[in-house]
């Protein structure tokens, strides 16, 4: 087995005046070398809290209640939670880099792109400016930008798509094993988004890093992911390969999300919203948190939080005691759920 990142029983709270917000509860998963994992869920599902905890960038009000985040390289495994400041700085960017949603906010607005590259490199011990320049040129060409033009520019002089490309190039500066992307294309126009998606696929194939991306947009996951995790109210409710999740979902929330997104090709199918709203994470209902919105819910669902269990297809887990009924409704055909349910 060659997991580069292994998360075990991770629970994270935010301290608030009203009491602890259970943002992430009992999350466990592994990220294999070179794999692309998509974490999907709506706002408040805990996906961003989870992702920033991997590089320990959580806000001060966040408390890790339990769990481990294990990183493995060259046979050595370390718990990210136990790294001291120097090792943590070493880990961030050189082992695990993150690209945030709002590309403009990720830059220092008053220095040129070249200075941003140089700053980052020097902070991580690359002192030779010439070598940094060579690396920056290579990376910018990799993301289809002209280094001569871009390195001289200031962040505000670049378009949204160019900024996102520069960030991706910078994140790869120290050759990380893991790249985390938070809503990588949300604010971009369609044609720019397409270019970034194709680019991410291409550079991942060439460089072989593992990728985690967080999105509420199922179509991006359909484009890039090998495996997927659905989160609801801080918990993983389903873990599956991308084709199982899209064509053979076994958790009612995954089914609900899939039915909520219209498409432009093929039949529209039975498009429908999920009724209600996500629960208050301070006062979670007993048992399964999805019960108030779930068409499959029965009395037993309220009794206990359902554990993730293996379902009928391989390497596929769902946290639903009625997954067999979901399976009966959705079936196994390689067709979108909304079309099958029409």
């Amino acid at each position: 087995m060659s997991a580069v990142l292994s998360v075990r029983d991770l629970s994270i709270d935010y301290r608030t005046r009203r009491g602890p917000v259970r943002a992430v509860s009992d999350v466990s998963f592994e990220l294999e070398k070179g794999e692309t994992l998509a974490i999907i869920g709506e706002s408040g599902s805990g996906k961003t809290t989870l992702a920033v905890s991997f590089i320990r960038l959580s806000p001060r009000s966040a408390v890790v209640r339990s769990g481990e985040i294990l990183y493995t390289k060259g046979g050595l495994t370390t718990d990210i939670r136990k790294l001291d400041d120097d090792d943590l700085r070493e880990f961030r960017w050189s082992e695990c880099a993150m690209v945030f949603q709002a590309a403009l906010n990720s830059f220092n607005p008053v220095i040129s792109i070249w200075d941003q590259f140089l700053d980052t490199a020097q902070a991580h011990g690359m002192k030779d400016a010439k070598a940094v320049r060579g690396r920056a040129d290579d990376l910018l060409e990799l993301v289809h930008l002209d280094p001569k033009r871009v390195l001289r520019a200031y962040p505000h002089e670049l378009s949204g798509g160019m900024r996102q490309r520069v960030l991706i190039a910078m994140s790869l500066l120290l050759d990380p094993q893991i790249l985390i992307l938070d809503e990588p294309t949300t604010a971009l126009d369609i044609l720019t988004q397409r270019a970034i998606l194709d680019l991410l696929r291409e550079i991942r194939q060439n460089l072989g890093f593992a990728m985690i991306f967080i999105s509420h947009d199922l179509s991006i996951a359909a484009e890039l992911a090998d495996r997927m995790i659905t989160m609801y109210a801080g918990r993983i409710v389903e873990k599956a390969s991308v084709s199982d999740l899209f064509y053979r979902p076994r958790h009612p929330y995954s089914v609900g999300l899939l039915r909520a997104v219209p498409r432009v090709s093929g039949a529209l199918g039975a498009i429908e919203s999920i009724p209600g709203a996500p629960p208050d994470l301070i006062r979670l209902p007993p048992g399964c948190a999805y019960v108030p919105r779930c068409p499959f819910a029965v009395e037993a669902c309220r009794a206990a939080v359902p554990p993730l269990v293996a379902v009928d297809t391989p390497n596929h887990d769902a946290a639903c005691i009625r997954w067999q009924d979901v399976a009966a409704a959705v079936g196994n055909a390689e067709r979108p759920v909304a079309v099958k349910l029409a």
Partner: protein
């Protein structure tokens, strides 16, 4: 028959420190009662400006906005008040469009009292209650005394819709009204807007960057695709999405990632000649899409500006090549 509301060759320019920008360029769109139209395009295409022009919030630099056949910008007094009530805008960001210091009840009662739809506090509260229930916020007493920050994004957007409804509008212009709410509840908001059309015959103009949303929302309406201030294609939604005529619409649809791994990974790509969107300050001559268009013909597309021309299927397209192919007629030649 004259249209309920109509933009007739409307142009709107803005002055900027770098020069004059034409945000909307000779756009003509007419709407019947109870019609649904989605305006689709990328950022900077002029869709929001078009919405604001329709709502009478900004004055056309050229051309005419007509409501029930008369020029809105010449209306006065009661006539103008009627227009102001008849056309309502629902904004993109419900966090910004509701006054944070007012309760839901205050927000809804203000227009009711201002337009004298009701008299007295008790009648206003009753009317506000009815509005909330109409937009699916029931029981209303749970919401009346809440402030915007106590509501979720979806609930806020429902309050915005309720406020728009308070004056019994004939036209609702919804500008990216669902793009900031979670995917799981988008469809229910779209369905709410559609039900207003069904029940009260309201005309709905949905402005969105999301063609899949436009396809769903406009199932029995039309879609207008805008590019750099111009409408480049207009037609019944399903036909336009399945068989786009304009190369730009075709490229957009081919580029959209879809929530279906097999489809989205095998979709045929359309390679554009350039990825750069021209600046509105220096629009290319002829067809503004020609520097990027894979079907570009020198001497025609870079010289003659294509106008919207009818093609079979009750559709219109502003493209020399598409018109030539779909009507069999010779397109206008370069002079």
């Amino acid at each position: 028959m004259s249209k309920l509301i109509e933009l007739d060759a409307v142009t709107r320019t803005f002055r900027t420190p770098f020069g004059e920008v034409t945000a909307v360029d000779r756009v003509s769109l007419g709407f019947d009662a109870a019609e649904v139209l989605c305006i689709v395009g990328e950022s900077g295409c002029g869709k929001t400006t078009t919405g604001r022009l329709l709502a009478g919030l900004i004055r056309p630099s050229n051309g005419t906005l007509r409501y029930k056949g008369t020029d809105v910008w010449l209306k006065k007094g009661a006539d103008l008040r009627e227009f102001r009530k008849a056309v309502q805008l629902v904004h993109q960001d419900p966090y910004a469009s509701l006054n944070p210091t007012r309760t839901v009840a205050q927000t809804l009662m203000a227009p009711l009292l201002h337009h004298k739809r009701v008299r007295g506090g008790r009648a206003a509260t009753a009317a506000a209650t009815e509005l909330l229930e109409r937009v699916g916020l029931a029981p209303a007493r749970d919401f009346l005394e809440k402030y915007p920050h106590q509501l979720s994004g979806g609930q806020r957007q429902r309050v915005s819709i309720a406020r728009a409804l308070s004056v019994e509008p004939r036209v609702i212009v919804a500008d990216e009204a669902v793009s900031m709410v979670d995917v799981s509840i988008r469809i229910s908001l779209l369905n709410l807007l559609l039900s207003l059309r069904r029940e009260f015959g309201v005309t709905i103009v949905l402005i969105t960057h999301d063609l899949a949303v436009a396809r769903y929302f406009g199932r029995d309406g039309r879609i207008a695709v805008m590019y750099l201030g111009r409408v480049v294609e207009l037609g019944p939604s399903e036909q336009l999405v399945v068989d786009p005529a304009h190369p730009y619409a075709e490229a957009l649809i081919a580029a959209i990632p879809e929530a279906d791994p097999t489809t989205t990974r095998t979709k045929e790509r359309i390679v554009l000649r350039s990825a750069d969107v021209p600046s509105l300050l220096e629009l290319p001559p002829g067809c503004t899409f020609h520097p990027r268009c894979p079907r570009f013909e020198a001497g025609l597309c870079d010289v003659v500006r294509p106008e919207l021309v009818a093609i079979p299927g009750d559709r219109e397209v502003a493209c020399h090549i598409a018109v030539r192919e779909r009507t069999g007629k010779q397109a206008a030649l370069a002079t």
